[in-house]
Structure formats: structure tokens, C-alpha cells
Symmetry: C2
Subunit: 365 residues, 2 copies
């Protein structure tokens, strides 16, 4: 077994101890005589797993009691539709901040569905290189919610503050930063996240929703997208993605074992600092994201030469540093250094970057 360092933006690395535990009990879980994959979701064995997953996540994120935790399917992209269908009935309109591709998709989806949505702010003009300062006056006072994407996977930016917009609920897509650091849940109306970056294999979507926001769903909307139905049925209106939830539980246990989200944040900041400090110390590579908006999960950089970028990704891959190619829409490089990426992986990456810079002078390409 020769494990690589996988810098993929998602799905991405899972903690090795989690994978090893999953492998060891894949065929037979405890004394159940079956795989978790084979368990009836209504069996006591499985109910214990999903309940424990929720309990651990509540502990990890310090989720207040008046918030429901939903384990769903369909990815964040499904929530792009579910958010307005569940919430816009509050006032009939909603506002969006567009800071990258996914927040743009969320906005466009609500538009496509015919809702009265408005872009409160966008950083498109500067290539989504930073997070804008959002103030209350930028949001319509009767907006049902303000939608933001808390960490922008493709552009490597993140909110380093939570907008203060009074009573208007903030709905945050946290797909690429969930459980990477502590977050003040009660400052949000809804937090949602695809699990495949920091939490579990693809196929699980987390929704954390304040319970007073469950009352605005459209009567004719698809039942499966209704948060209230899912909340009332403990995420089991139908069969949930059982195995991905079990994997999430193992990941929560792993983080709690390390000391929780405070420790996780320190570890993530240390990894990100190693990479950003190197980037700031040289001129061969450029980091497009503005310093005050830098993500600690997704670090983007470019050489400024598309052929050189390509060569970089290929040579890194040959050395076991995988998936460093930037998103197809922006090019360049992107190192996704989620919770499960060891410090050693970032060390190896920085070593490789320094070697590459020495070996391949720009004009030689």
C-alpha cells in the first residue's frame, strides 16, 4: 500500500485511521453479523449509528438545540433549489452574494426557478479574488434570507467574518469548509454542505436549519426537498445514505479524538501558513486570492504560463502529489488541504514547488 497525497478539491482525502476502521468492519460490523451497508435503516443497530452521528456533530460544532440537523442526499446543488423552495415564502424575495462559481450557480438556480432574487454584491469584476464586506444596507430589508458561499473552492477565498445583517437569516453553503474550524452556528439561519470534502464520501449532504425557518416551504414542492418533512422524520422520510452517514460518524470521532474543531483549526492554519508563507516569499508563483480573503482549505496559485502550469501538475502527480490542477474554469493550480491532508503532504508540496522553480526556469518552457 503506497498512499499518495491527494490535493483534490472533492471528493478528497479521508483520514487514514477512518478508512482503516471502515475497511476492518466493512464485512461485519461489531456483533451485527452484517455490513453497515446491509443494515435496515430502521434497525436498532443503524438507528444507533445515525443518532450517534448527530450527537457527535452537535458536540463538534456546538449546534444549539433550536437547530435541526438533517442528513440528506443530492449534494449542495440540490440545496440550490431547496433553499428558495423552503425559505422564500417568508417574504417572497431573497438576496445572494456571488463570490465564485457555486454561489453564482445558487443564484442562477433561484432565478431559473422564477423567484424574485437579487444579487446583493459580487466580486466578478476582479476575478472573484476576494470576499466583499457585506453590510446591512446592501441587503433588501424584506429579503427572506441572504445566501452566501462561506468558502469558495475554485477561487481559494473564504469569509473571515460573518456579515451582520440584523434579523435577516444568513444561508451559508459551507461545502468546502464545514468542520474545518469552529463556527458560530447561531449567527446563521441555515448551514448546508456537501460532505465530500471534509466529512464523508460523496452522496451525503448536511443541512443545519434553525427550527423557526421550517414553516415557509411551498405547498407544491417535492416532498423530498422539504426540510420540515426530513426534520420530522429524523432524516428518514425515505432510506438515507446510510453508509456515508456512518463514514461521517467515523470522521467526527476522529476530529473529537484530536481535540475538536479548535485543534482542527490550528492544524489547518499551520498547513495553510506553510504554503502561503512560501508563496509570499518568492515570485515564481502568484497567489491570485487577496490576502484578507485567503481560504485555509483551498490554496490557488499560478505560474502565469498555462504550459508551465500543466507541466507542474504532471510532474507533481508523478511524485505522488495528486490533483493539483486548478478547476477547468480558471486553470492554474489548486491545493486543497482539507482536514485529512497531513502536514507532511503540504511540506512535500512546498519542497516540490521550490525544486520545480529551480529546475524549470520560466524561459525554458
Amino acid at each position: 500500500m503506497n498512499r499518495v497525497f491527494n490535493f483534490s478539491a472533492g471528493p478528497s482525502m479521508l483520514p487514514l485511521p477512518v478508512l482503516e476502521k471502515a475497511a476492518s468492519e466493512l464485512v461485519c460490523y461489531g456483533t451485527s453479523g452484517m455490513s453497515v451497508m446491509e443494515m435496515s435503516h430502521r434497525s436498532p443497530e443503524y438507528e444507533a449509528i445515525i443518532k450517534e452521528a448527530e450527537t457527535l456533530l452537535r458536540k463538534l460544532m456546538d449546534i444549539p438545540e433550536n437547530y435541526k440537523v438533517l442528513f440528506l442526499q443530492g449534494g449542495a446543488s440540490t440545496q440550490f433549489s431547496a433553499v428558495p423552495m423552503n425559505l422564500i415564502g417568508r417574504t417572497g424575495k431573497a438576496d445572494y452574494v456571488v463570490t465564485g462559481q457555486f454561489s453564482g450557480k445558487a443564484f442562477k438556480e433561484a432565478q431559473k426557478m422564477g423567484y424574485d432574487v437579487k444579487c446583493a454584491a459580487t466580486t466578478k469584476d476582479t476575478g472573484f479574488d476576494h470576499i466583499p464586506v457585506i453590510t446591512k444596507d446592501m441587503v433588501r430589508p424584506d429579503a427572506s434570507y441572504l445566501h452566501i458561499c462561506f468558502n469558495n473552492t475554485i477561487y481559494g477565498t473564504k469569509y473571515h467574518y460573518i456579515p451582520d445583517i440584523g434579523d435577516i437569516p444568513i444561508v451559508a453553503d459551507m461545502s468546502s469548509c464545514i468542520i474545518s474550524e469552529p463556527v458560530d452556528v447561531k449567527r446563521f439561519g441555515v448551514i448546508y454542505a456537501g460532505a465530500q470534502k471534509n466529512m464523508a464520501p460523496a452522496g451525503l449532504t448536511l443541512v443545519i436549519v434553525r427550527d423557526d425557518l421550517l414553516e415557509y416551504a411551498e405547498k407544491t414542492m417535492p416532498t423530498m426537498l422539504e426540510w420540515k418533512t426530513m426534520a420530522e422524520n429524523g432524516s428518514m422520510y425515505n432510506t438515507p445514505p446510510c453508509y456515508a452517514i456512518y463514514m461521517a460518524k467515523l470522521v467526527y470521532e476522529w476530529i473529537l479524538g484530536l481535540g475538536g474543531l479548535g485543534v482542527m483549526k490550528e492544524m489547518n492554519e499551520k498547513k495553510a501558513a506553510l504554503l502561503y508563507d512560501y508563496l509570499d516569499s518568492q515570485s515564481y508563483y502568484t497567489a491570485p486570492a487577496k490576502k484578507d480573503s485567503r481560504s485555509i482549505m483551498n490554496v490557488t496559485f499560478v505560474t502565469g504560463d498555462a504550459d508551465l502550469d500543466k507541466k507542474f501538475a504532471a510532474e507533481a502527480s508523478a511524485k505522488g502529489l495528486k490533483n493539483l490542477k486548478g478547476h477547468r474554469s480558471v486553470g492554474g493550480m489548486r491545493a486543497s488541504i482539507y482536514n485529512a491532508m497531513p502536514y507532511e503532504g503540504v511540506e512535500k508540496l512546498v519542497e516540490f514547488m521550490a525544486d520545480f522553480e529551480k529546475t524549470i526556469p520560466r524561459h525554458k518552457i
Copy 2:
């Protein structure tokens, strides 16, 4: 490791060789240096897996070229909404046959969403104990489609014929019988199935749709529920449930290794015959499903005494015959004997039933 016989209606047993293979490569898949769970869905390694899954399924089910194969999320319950949103635009109305709980839910969901749907036939009056004979005159000539549930998990009934209704597309929920026997795909407009009974762990939903039926989607519907969008993106409009698709691929390989769906059908019929022959040979247990409608996947039976039923399920469980309790809505017992249930499991069940009958006379309870 002491594996039990798991008669759960779903999620349920997976083939032991499939689980063992999955466990052996969970931490590291081939020479990739990572778990399948960690692979970018856009990586060549993962693209090879999802393409192979589709190729094998097409071979297994003999799916014509003008049908798209979609690997989705959300379960059959999400398709209860997606079916009318994608198809009812053809004519503005649709008909449903209600033969149990899930076909009833599909019908009610379309009603709830405000569509013009009509119940073409139901067997509710006789406790859903059989499949009705559906003829063309029972369906509105301008129906966009006729929706049926091909195998009724809860009531243990199945269609032993495909309704002949001319050009009106049949949409069939095959969640509990998919890939259990050959089926003439071209007689259907759409086949869909939750994967967690015969195909993979929960969290994967299969949709097989004739390509001319992709043109009727509502403009304002959630993009993630649009079959056309998913077809155009090879099921990767967003991140698919990668690991469940990989598991499905292993299951397809297992069935093809046994000889394909013809052999699978023989094996399933042999298991079902063992149980039904026993049920027909005695009077202690009654099988509520009419003989001409019996499912070979879900076999229901009752003692006629709720306490005795309860005792049966509990004692069977203690002997390693798990999850024989009938669905909470109907009581009694249900033995789900999907593809992965070995013949030996049914033998043990029949032995247990005979012993139970001898040991616990009805009047002793």
C-alpha cells in the same frame, strides 16, 4: 466473523464476495494510492469506474442504445416528484396504478404537486393482495405516461406481465426487483430504482429513460431533478454518489460472473419456490398475496395472530435469521430474498418455520 441471514426489505444483503472485495481495496484502490471514496469524480480512475458500471449494466439488462442510464441520488421517493416534473409536460396529465404503499405515495406526490393525475386502477379494496390486469382502455388516451410499481415490497406482489397500452410510455418503479431477472427494457419509457435492495448500498438511484422522453421537463423545475441535464452530463452535473456506484459495479460484475440475469432469475425462482411450496403445504402460516401475483423478491406470510408473529420474528432473529418482521403498516412476516440471499438462507428459514410450527402450537400463545 459470523454472518447472519438478513431478510431485510432494504437496505439488505450484499453478495459476500462483493463486500470482501470492497473491504480489500477500501484503503487503496489498485495502484491509485487512494480509496475510491477519495477520488475526484473527474479523475481518469473514477471515470473508468462509472463508465464501466454503465457498460456492465447495459450488458446485464440489455439496455437499448436509445435509453440513457443515470446514476442519481435521492432514492425512488425523489423520483416520485421528478417523474411528473420531467414527463407530464408531454400532454399535461398522467395515470397511476396503485398496488401498494409506494405506488400510492408516487400518486399522492404528483397530486400534492398539483398535477392532473388519475388513478387508473387500484387493488386497495382487497388489501393490495394482487396485481390487476391493466388494459389500454383503463388509461386515458392522452396520458403522458402510466406509472406502475413493478414489485411491491410491502405486500409481496409483482407484475408477471407488462401492460400493453400502445404508445403511452410506462414508467416503472423497479426498486425491489431491479436486476433480479431479465426485463424487456424497450417496453418501458422509464425504469427507476433505489439501489439499496438488489444493487448497492443506499444512496444511489438508477434511472433508465428513453431519450425521446427527455424533452418535456418543466422550465422552472430543480435542475438536479432534470433527467436531461443529468443525461447530458453523464450523471456528473454535480458530484455523483461515487462509492455507491463503485459498489454497484462490483455487484454487476458478480451477477455477470454467475451467468447474467437469466441465471439470477433461476436462482431467485428456486429460492422463492422453496418458500412458497412450504407455505402452500401447510396451514399454520398464510401467504396473503394471490398466487398469480407473487413476488420472488419479497415473500409475505402471517400466522393470523399478532403475538405469535412477534414471537416468530424474535426467535428467528435469535437463530441468525434477521429482519423477518413485516412492514409496520401491515404486520406479519416478510422474507426479502434478494439476489444476495443464498439458497441456504431460505432453507434455514423453512426449517425454522417448520420447527416453530411444531414447538409453538397456536393455542399455547
